[in-house]
């Protein structure tokens, strides 16, 4: 129990003791401290620290050195590194300070349990400064009196500590203030150094761990001066055109140092400097004359200086100044060339002389004019022709011949040496060979093989080949000892150039050798437009035009034709670039093809537009081979059919096209009893049985006045009728019906016809039906089975008139049945035609008849009579009318049908005025 109270009292005492210690004196006090306090340690060195406890703590807290614990930050230092020196002092040792860190604390374990911090220190670890190395100094002249000296050195490794560098300097008898810079550690500048006294310089580096000095440098600052360059440069033209005098001012006194100089110069626009030989400017001076310059050339000068003996540094180059040399005579004649045009007039040349302006280094001044002299070589006696021009070309018209052209350029100082050009009658000399080109470094190089003869010089002509512009010739001269050159001009890429090389000899020139070239090629700007020239069943002929030069952008190496069907693969065909036509073969017939064409240069190709075509279904001649036989076969069939029909016409007619009289359209014309008796119908009535009529036509004609047809007039007609009666009969009577008409009805006898005409004024020329009715004496009548209603009236009228015998009414009427032409003339053209014929005089009629007899094909007459009448109709009408007057008896005789054959059912009808009366 006692011991428990004892422990409690001891603890309270200890606590109070701590508190009283900490606040005594108003400052914090601890029970101990560490030696050394805030040490700066060299990295890698060993280090020992001591923790010393206060005696007061020993008395009140039973704290001893053996209870001390060392810590680095929060890490306990191993106890192996501890050492208890006595009961109040504990030490800790570190063999390598690299393991140290801040803070290093001294702690105790109160009563073996509670860890209390006694003291702590900050440890700084670093390195001592290294010896500064490579100390060097330079004096930069800033002005005439200002010579600051800047020294630099290598400060060495990083020390991790605050290290100060001092540039120390002194004369032997005087010490100067140190040069210190806080922002940098490797340089310092001393203002206003004094020359001609040796100055001792060194660098001192110092930090908490030590000091280091560089090697001492002893020098006279005059030996390390970098002077300011000379200034106020000026250039004066000298007496000679090749000399310029350069003057300047030095900015460092001669009392300080003597100088030597470097002078450099270049022409304006050039970037390369030339330099005056240094030995020429190795002494103090303020001017120098530069020689060997080009006349009338602007030069740029610059100068620098240094100590005459070469000790020290060169100044910077001065500012630049320019000067121009004076003019001199042109150093050479202008290069000259010509273009000869012999196309204007025979016997004369149009010679265009061209020359190039001299380069500035050749002109040596301003060219005021050119003097051109043309001397004919053939006639040396004639005076030379002289021209003074300001331009660089001259066009002359000269007779064909050989001329020597001399050109001189003149400036203010004098004239150039002459340039001579021979204009030969022909280019008869040896040409160059193997002209070739090569793009190189963005320029076009032209090479050639020289001819065997000595060549004075070469002329290279070139021009841009284009569709949009003419070939504007450019040219250049090259000396005779070269075999290649770059074209001096604005050579554009993707453009075609025609380059020609001429060798010039002392006594003439060789012919030009040409080559086309591109500086750079590209794909064509477009492809060829292809189209078909001819398309067949299995082949197609394709044509295209060459690309223009402007579109080519390079040499066309090949064409490729691509063609395909709608759903097929594309097929490519390569075509020679010289072709403009190609035949695609093995195509499928009746197929749509798409075709396009690509043109290729060395850089690639470009395709033209697509073109489509369809191959034919049939080949050449196939259609003809099919159509012609088919047509022939058809014609043959038709012909056979016609022949068959012709042979079987009766049968066909009977079965297919029987004659069925239409009673409603028929009438019976009864001719008046005054019909002349001499018409012996009695005998002939038997010849026309009723049943034999398949076609009946009744034509009633009131014949013209007999006077109008006299016998004399009709004689020739009748004679001819005899000859042609048979043939004409086919088309008579039935109104021109061809196939179905009975020719028998048209057969006539001219003799009887003549008689008839003489005895009767009424002409009847159709079928005559004679029959007695029921044993009655047949009345001789003329009838026919064709009627139209209007005809009834006329018949009636004609009956009335005929009853009068010599009727003055001259009418002709005829009726036709089954007449095809009637259908087209239903409005009564027959009447009109009849009326047209009626007033025709006899001569006309005779003429008409004659022509008609001589041949049916005779058209002129028909056209003369009635121009607007069908050719077939008119002869019918006319023939009918004539036959009507003359043929009727003949018809009776020629076709003697028997009476028995007369059809029973067909009764002749008497037409009476005002009605249709059966008999």
């Amino acid at each position: 129990m006692f011991s428990g109270w004892n422990w409690v009292a001891h603890g309270l005492y200890l606590l109070l003791n701590f508190c009283s210690l900490k606040v005594s004196g108003g400052l914090v006090q601890s029970c101990g401290h560490i030696i050394p306090e805030s040490p700066v340690l060299a990295l890698g060195s060993n280090f020992t620290a001591l923790c010393i406890l206060n005696e007061s703590c020993l008395d009140f807290g039973n704290i001893y050195a053996n209870q001390i614990i060392w810590k680095i930050k929060n890490r306990v230092v191993p106890k192996e590194q501890y050492r208890e020196i006595n009961r109040t002092v504990s030490s800790v040792t570190f063999n390598d300070t690299s393991s140290l860190a801040t803070p290093l604390t001294c702690n105790i374990l109160a009563d073996g349990q509670i860890e209390q911090n006694i003291y702590g220190i900050a440890v700084t670890i670093g390195l001592p400064p290294e010896k500064p190395r490579n100390l060097s100094c330079i004096v930069h002249q800033k002005s005439k009196l200002s010579y600051p000296m800047t020294c630099t050195w290598n400060p060495g490794r990083h020390t991790f500590l605050d290290t100060h560098f001092r540039l120390k300097n002194r004369w032997p008898q005087d010490e100067f203030p140190d040069c210190i810079r806080k922002d940098v550690n490797n340089s310092c500048t001393i203002n206003d150094v004094q020359f001609f006294v040796n100055l001792e310089l060194w660098v001192e580096a110092a930090n908490a761990l030590g000091k280091a000095e560089s090697d001492h440098l002893v020098l006279d600052p005059i030996e390390i001066v970098k002077p300011l360059p000379p200034h106020n440069l000026s250039v004066n033209s000298g007496i000679l055109p090749t000399v310029l005098k350069l003057s300047w001012e030095n900015r460092i006194s001669g009392a300080v140092m003597q100088l030597k100089f470097n002078i450099r110069y270049r022409t304006v626009g050039d970037t390369n400097w030339m330099q005056v030989p240094p030995e020429d400017t190795a002494s103090q001076r303020t001017s120098f004359s530069i020689q060997g310059l080009r006349p009338y050339t602007e030069y740029v000068f610059s100068i620098r200086c240094m100590k005459e003996d070469g000790v020290g540094y060169w100044s910077d180059w001065s500012e630049e100044t320019t000067g121009v040399t004076t003019e001199d005579k042109p150093s050479k004649g202008p290069p000259i060339w010509r273009i000869i045009d012999a196309s204007d007039s025979p016997g004369f040349w149009t010679v265009r002389l061209m020359w190039k302006a001299l380069e500035p280094f050749e002109a040596n001044g301003i060219i005021l004019q050119y003097e051109v002299t043309i001397r004919a070589k053939s006639s040396l006696s004639s005076p030379p022709e002289k021209h003074n021009v300001n331009t660089t070309n001259l066009t002359l018209k000269l007779p064909n011949g050989t001329y020597e052209v001399t050109l001189v350029a003149r400036n203010r100082v004098g004239a150039s040496p002459p340039s001579v050009l021979l204009i030969p009658a022909s280019n008869s000399k040896a040409p160059v060979k193997n002209v070739r080109t090569l793009p190189k470094d963005g320029k076009l190089w032209v090479g050639w093989t020289a001819p065997n003869s000595y060549v004075l010089k070469y002329v290279i002509e070139w021009c841009l080949v284009s569709n949009s512009s003419d070939c504007i010739i450019e040219w250049q001269n090259e000396p005779g000892n070269v075999q290649g050159t770059y074209l001096k001009g604005d050579i554009k890429p993707f453009k075609c150039y025609l380059i020609t090389v001429y060798p010039l000899y002392a006594d003439g020139q060789g012919s030009g050798q040409s080559v086309k070239a591109y500086l750079q090629q590209d794909r064509p700007s477009k492809g060829p437009t292809i189209q078909t020239k001819k398309v067949g069943k299995a082949e197609a002929v394709l044509t295209w035009n060459h690309l223009t030069v402007d579109e080519q952008n390079g040499f066309i190496r090949s064409y490729t034709i691509f063609y395909k069907t709608v759903d097929g693969n594309e097929t490519a065909v390569t075509v020679d670039p010289s072709k403009t036509e190609y035949t695609l073969s093995s195509l499928t017939s009746d197929t749509l093809y798409t075709v396009r064409m690509m043109a290729y240069t060395d850089e690639g190709g470009r395709s033209g537009p697509d073109f489509t075509f369809t191959t034919q279904k049939f080949g050449k001649g196939e259609i003809e081979a099919i159509v012609v036989p088919v047509c022939l076969a058809f014609l043959l069939i038709v012909l056979l059919g016609v022949l068959f029909c012709f042979n079987k016409r009766d049968l066909i007619k009977k079965h297919i096209w029987p004659i069925v009289p239409d009673p409603s359209k028929s009438n019976i014309a009864q001719w008046s009893p005054q019909v002349p008796a001499k018409h012996n119908f009695s005998s002939k009535d038997q010849m026309y049985p009723e049943g034999s009529f398949t076609d009946v036509s009744v034509v009633e004609i009131e014949a013209d006045d007999k006077k109008s047809f006299s016998e004399q007039d009709l004689k020739p007609f009748d004679l001819l009728k005899k000859e042609k009666s048979t043939s004409e009969g086919h088309s008579s009577g039935i109104g021109g019906s061809s196939c179905m008409s009975s020719p028998r009805q048209s057969v006539s006898d001219s003799d009887e016809g003549e008689t008839t005409q003489n005895t009767s004024s009424t002409v009847q020329y159709s079928t005559v039906v004679l029959n007695g009715y029921r044993d009655q004496t047949p009345v001789q009548v003329f009838s026919r089975s064709e009627s139209t209603q209007p005809l009834l009236d006329s018949e009636e009228r004609s009956e009335d008139h005929t009853g009068g015998g010599d009727s003055t009414t001259q009418r002709q009427q005829y009726f036709k049945q089954n007449g095809g032409q009637d259908e087209t003339n239903t409005d009564g053209p027959c009447f009109e035609r009849t009326r047209q014929i009626a007033p025709t005089n006899e001569g006309d009629l005779v003429g008409f008849a004659q022509l008609q007899i001589s041949g049916h094909a005779s058209q002129p007459l028909g056209l003369g009579l009635e121009k607007n009448t069908q050719e077939a109709a008119l002869p019918d009408v006319l023939q009918t009318s004539i036959e009507g007057q003359t043929v009727r008896p003949e018809t009776v005789e020629g076709n003697p049908p028997s009476v028995d054959e007369m059809p029973k059912s067909y009764l002749p009808q008497t037409v009476r005025q005002g009605g249709y009366m059966p008999q």
Partner: protein
């Protein structure tokens, strides 16, 4: 004289003479420039005549060509030591008068002062080579600083600078003479231009 006879001593002497001549030449050029600046900044007339200033050594001397080398060196050294004191006084007065405002004149004065000191060092070295050794400065007490007014001080400064310029010329000639007379040296160093 033994030291002077050795080749290294001869080279050293020649080098000292050569650089001394150049230093004197530069010092003269700088003093001429300084005179212009001084007259301008102090508001003086460049043509103003200044009476002989007490304590300022006079460059002119009779029978100059009869002087020995050592004598020339000693006179030069005495003069430049005096100028060093005088210039230091002028610089101090200038700083007191203008503070740091007129740095150009102050820097020029300081530069000339340094050159005077440097030249004095050259002379001392040459005297050592003569086995003579420079006299102690304590022996040559600086002239007492008179109590002068501002204008008199300006004029006195002008007189000091003018006399210094004269001394610079004389020193060049003395050193040339010395170089000529030095053993192993047949002629003066390559100093083509007369200051």
């Amino acid at each position: 004289m033994a030291a002077a006879d050795s080749p290294s001593a001869a080279l050293r002497r020649r080098d000292l003479c050569s650089r001394g001549i150049r230093l004197a030449g530069k010092m003269r050029a700088d003093v001429i420039d300084l005179l212009d600046t001084y007259v301008e900044r102090q508001g003086l007339d460049a043509s103003a005549s200044v009476a002989a200033v007490e304590g300022v050594p006079v460059a002119a001397v009779e029978r100059w060509d009869e002087q020995t080398g050592t004598q020339r060196l000693l006179e030069n050294l005495a003069a430049y030591r005096a100028f060093r004191v005088l210039l230091a006084q002028m610089l101090e007065e200038h700083r007191e008068q203008l503070g740091e405002a007129d740095t150009t004149l102050g820097r020029a004065l300081a530069a000339v002062l340094l050159q005077v000191s440097a030249f004095a060092y050259h002379l001392e070295e040459l005297l050592r080579l003569e086995s003579r050794g420079p006299p102690s400065e304590e022996g040559a007490a600086p002239p007492p600083v008179p109590q002068l007014g501002l204008f008199e001080r300006k004029l006195r400064g002008l007189g000091v600078l003018r006399e210094l310029a004269q001394w610079a010329v004389r020193s060049v000639r003395d050193l040339r003479q010395l170089a000529k007379a030095s053993p192993g040296s047949s002629s003066a160093p390559g100093w083509a231009e007369s200051p």
